[in-house]
Symmetry: C2
Subunit: 166 residues, 2 copies
Amino acid sequence: EAVAVRGVSLREDLAVVRLTGVPNVPGLAATVFAALAEKNIIVDDIIQNLYQNAESAILGFVVSSEDAAIARELADRLARDHEMGAVEFSEKVSKVSAVGVGMRSHSGVAATMFQALAREDINILAISTSEIVIGCVVPRQDGPRALAAVHAAFGLGDAVNENAAS
Amino acid sequence: EAVAVRGVSLREDLAVVRLTGVPNVPGLAATVFAALAEKNIIVDDIIQNLYQNAESAILGFVVSSEDAAIARELADRLARDHEMGAVEFSEKVSKVSAVGVGMRSHSGVAATMFQALAREDINILAISTSEIVIGCVVPRQDGPRALAAVHAAFGLGDAVNENAAS
Ligand SMILES: C[C@@H](O)[C@H](N)C(=O)O
Ligand SMILES: C[C@@H](O)[C@H](N)C(=O)O
């Protein structure tokens, strides 16, 4: 619902690292993030679902482009040490976020946001939410267009590009 | 870092629906959420990662227990109509969320939160974040213990159970 969303922003220069086939046992997410913290890697979002009938998880996390290489190297090592599956990687991505109040009727707000992106033929690579934010990772070249489209879809004024020179 | 987290809360009576093998093409997330919105299903979190070398996605969403059956039925239909993979389902789950300011050094805050859960042998089923929230879905019976453990890990006072009678 248009009234629920009060702002949309774009964060650029990101990458997504995905650990696949993570055994679904307590302690693994802790191990992964202790390792990232120990390398001082700043993580923008953490996104996990189970799959393979809940035997495994896909544990994804978003980092800045400048930390991408070290994050990927660390992910490769963790995958080997803990018998995970392949490490997947999406480089050169951006994240567009819709911020609102009372977005618990997420399905309506999400539908509006995703439809705005679909109309622009923009592919949604990752989605992560909280009660007041819906964040969509898109290919870098589509970021500015995604920002404008989502802004317009919620009837808002000038789009805010966090990366634009002020 | 303890100073960054100002509160932890627990939301109970949830379920997670996971669409697997979702073709990674623009427009599918929009189709799924338009269908959920049309049935007035309230979605608590939306969690998506790509996998299978970015050919497909796992698109998960958290709903209340009372909407679980209708959400699952809808997911089954969408999976058939759009040639997705199996629909997976986690019933009887709760979500513990750490709320903070300046949590962009997520890896340290996340490590602390996940380690608190690991020490209690609590399995993390799903993770979704925004800039100020880290949310972990855990089995229902572990919710109250998860809340207490995360609270203590961040040096906070009385835990807030959103579901406790006031
Ligand atoms: C997959 C990973 O999150 C695991 N379930 C854990 O609790 O650490
Ligand atoms: C998988 C799904 O999110 C798809 N990438 C879309 O943009 O709709």
